[in-house]
Symmetry: C2
Amino acid sequence: MNLAVRLPVYDPHAIQDPISPLSGVANKVTPNATPVVPGSPRLTTPPNGQKQINAVKSLEAQIDAAWEVWDLIRTICEYNTRLSLALDLGPPLPNSLDVLNKWSAEAVRYICLPASTFIANAKGYPVLPKPTQTFIRDSMAHRPNIVLSSVSSNLHARGGEDAYSQYIKHLEATSPIVLATRKAGSVENFAQGYQDFLQAPLQPLMDNLHSITYQTFEQDPVKYRNYEEAVYRALLDRPQAVRIVICVAGAGRGPLVARCLSAIQRSDRNAFVYAVEKNPNAFVTLQHRLRSEWQGKVKLLFGDMRQITIDEQADILVSELLGSFGDNELSPECLDGAMRFLKPGGISIPSSYTAHLAPLSSSKLYNEARSVKDLKSLETPYVVMFQAVNVLSGDGGGASSRCGPKVQECWEFEHPRRDVVLDGRGLPPTNTHNTRSAKLNFHIPHAGVLHGFAGYFEAVLYGNIGLSIHPHRKNSISKDMLSWFPLFFPLREPLYLPRNSELHVSIWRLTNQRQVWYEWHAESFLSIDGTPSEMTTRQSTPSIGTASRSSLLPSSPSFASSPLIDAVEIPGERKAQREDSDYSRMMDGLLKIGHTGLHNADGRSSWMGL
Amino acid sequence: MNLAVRLPVYDPHAIQDPISPLSGVANKVTPNATPVVPGSPRLTTPPNGQKQINAVKSLEAQIDAAWEVWDLIRTICEYNTRLSLALDLGPPLPNSLDVLNKWSAEAVRYICLPASTFIANAKGYPVLPKPTQTFIRDSMAHRPNIVLSSVSSNLHARGGEDAYSQYIKHLEATSPIVLATRKAGSVENFAQGYQDFLQAPLQPLMDNLHSITYQTFEQDPVKYRNYEEAVYRALLDRPQAVRIVICVAGAGRGPLVARCLSAIQRSDRNAFVYAVEKNPNAFVTLQHRLRSEWQGKVKLLFGDMRQITIDEQADILVSELLGSFGDNELSPECLDGAMRFLKPGGISIPSSYTAHLAPLSSSKLYNEARSVKDLKSLETPYVVMFQAVNVLSGDGGGASSRCGPKVQECWEFEHPRRDVVLDGRGLPPTNTHNTRSAKLNFHIPHAGVLHGFAGYFEAVLYGNIGLSIHPHRKNSISKDMLSWFPLFFPLREPLYLPRNSELHVSIWRLTNQRQVWYEWHAESFLSIDGTPSEMTTRQSTPSIGTASRSSLLPSSPSFASSPLIDAVEIPGERKAQREDSDYSRMMDGLLKIGHTGLHNADGRSSWMGL
């Protein structure tokens, strides 16, 4: 079944006479017979000044209203996958496409373009207005069917019937997403066929990876270049005369070992490499490479880095244990075990990493996650190459000026961590110092349905060399890096968020002696007065890479106890109490309007094994 | 696990310095060691004027905040039945208990009363302040454990330690609900053991009722008294000389037949009774009573009233086919079939009936409905004697003045209905004229969680004689009637409603050739400006009984198509379109904040068989 939604006509009178949220629903699509809203004047040149601002606001409200109707219908139809959408782009679109982003998270199958939508260019050929052009180019990611109509009615002086479809083909060929997909080496090209496909995250600590997995990840041209650069700079920062020991913790089939050797050669330093690996299959490859390539430069050590002993302590510990959310493949726990290998002044590459979150709308991902009829599938974080998604948050503090940016930092891990109590073997007696929690406030500028959260990571390898899949910073830190798709934290039930609302997200990283897991929960609010609270927004902290870090969150992580765990000692708990009273001040002026359940309580549905 | 929630201290400074929503949570209850909020002055005499109003509003906001904390915790715990609540009534309560009603829908297991809560009466004995007295008396319905503390600290001049518990026993003995339960013949007495117990509604058309079921319902002293009175008055309104024919459609074991004969005798009219019954077991009883009691006055007819033929047409058709929601046991369909028996000027007793709805909060009922791990159980209306429930709606139009009263009328059925097209046998060819729909707007004054809807009916038997289980009118129309508990329409997922929100409920009665079912759906809104729309609130219509009918809804039912049915012709559809444009005007100034799913779409989970 297809449903046609007509995006609203640009109507400066709409402030007095808003279009009904129900009038946007037309009957089923019949190409060449697109319905027309009678009596609505179409202005391509908007009036000036305040009236223009009002008209734009009203237009946005109308586009929101058209989406509201769609949302109500598909909710009532329980996200049935047989229900898809036809967008009628006949009416002109606003210049700012922010409000249209929400359609990218919906099942848009047809886009209807009557000839009357086209304007004439200087030569008299039919072309589309700029905003419609941009929207069509962006929509090409979803491969919609474009339905042209009235093309034989000679509305334009030049080009005839074919000019319309030729122009659409031109838009497709110049679409940024189509171009990126065709470019060898791009993430979009690499990820073809994986878009919006849910993958369970790897458990490299519990499971031994297959050779094909290593091979896939070894292909990444950017990740290992940055690792080599980080090791190279770390070597340069050490005196030439002294022997330097490097330990690669988790060497796999050896890509980091090779990069370390290359960095040693380039930096002209006297250094030796230990390579630790627990996977016997990968170790065979390492042994082969030692014989054929690395004679005398490398020593191999077989075993778990949390248990084995090493001949001498290292100056530089190099590891590649990061997951899409940073710590989600248990890098903190593994490196805790390997810190015994490090000299007092030794360093870790990576030296730190942070986890980042953003609220996401995607009917596709929601439907994928619930297609397995099991609670577990809706409480498991997945690795996903996002495509039909819309990040619901906006930059700016929201009505109350109390919200952080569009994508927000949850927490950070640093290595080596000097403040942990160690037992006689040099290991931490419990894992509670690796628990984390964050409470993030997002501004939601446009109405939308929350289906889950996008998770990203950013790592500092050494100095200003890093790795990032943060959507706003990845291009300046590690452009074209292929190894990580983002994480998707689903919700059991969608949560409707009105325009100008606030979303308060709580996320925890919790642990017992055998497992690590995440729990997540969210509440929605509306501002009931316009007065910002006395809380000052925090200053941004300096960043790696060339992009400035726009996060308003503190650089040190914040902590709060899990709702289900009584007895865990969480470091910084006194700070959490202070934040609670901040929280109560923040509640002043906010009206709660909804909440999700607590997801994955006590790790019942998903966890990583230690 | 018990959770202690301390109802907030009366604090006039609270406007400047609101209590944290989290500070209300104390540790587990330890009797005799109730926690005290430090530094909060307790005023038993509130200050006057505007300051007093502000203080009361702030106090209500704080009680709301205490409940918010509880709601968040029990949601996070997924309504675990092992989680119960201890209320600390130490601080004084406000004079208006409206804001406390929400606790009646929660699992309050303990009420803590430190001796300091008690004030001294004229003689120096400890007594409770009036609002606390009332709250305790009302709470006795749930049989909480009362935890007294500090009773040996000699805070009061007279009575000693025992005076506190003696006083509580006195409150219990004088509790209206306890008194009602002890009174023979009251609904509360009759319903003992059935409180908050979900029963599937009867299907007397599809199933033949058991003898024990007839026996239970024949005990109702009020229902049959009102039926006799209605028949009596109908007879009085007919001339004495003419022979009058009464037909009892669905005679069961004969209670209505007996009442008709009694009415004939009292009214001194020349009348004859036909009794139609389809249940062969009940028919045996009827035959026995004909021989022993009704010789010559009654003729029995065996068969379905929609199919049998009758010797002569009737002046008065008497039936008792009503369910808790009026039409939910298919009275409209059965009476359609029996209208063939009626003379052109004949009447039906009942002559009309209406269905009524109110939004309900009850964690108990929600937990009961979902205890069967099946979608069906959350899309089935149940018959329930309500106890641990709270009706969330308030009277008054809400912020926007567009809402109806606390309990609202959905639709009406009238018999005989003269405008239905009939086939050659005198039967309607389809059942579409018995479809109904309603869109109801409720004002929600206090924050709460919507778990479903309460359904009630009211019937006009004849003139101003009726039957009603409408909570505000039953006592004036049919006090102490036992036969019907209300209906409960559950929700699949609870819907959080903030204070001063609006709830728009859609409910449909739909039909195909074999089944009749209900569908329901709700959306929540907040008012974004204080301006009432240009819609005028509708005038109330005159009512039966002595109570005035406070409904603001039109007396004729309104119609709208089902979201899932395309091709049903619904009478009054043109009217529905007009209402849609009203609806769009109403949306002006409202911000949608949430919605439920559509329940029981296409009758997939529950239906009545024709």
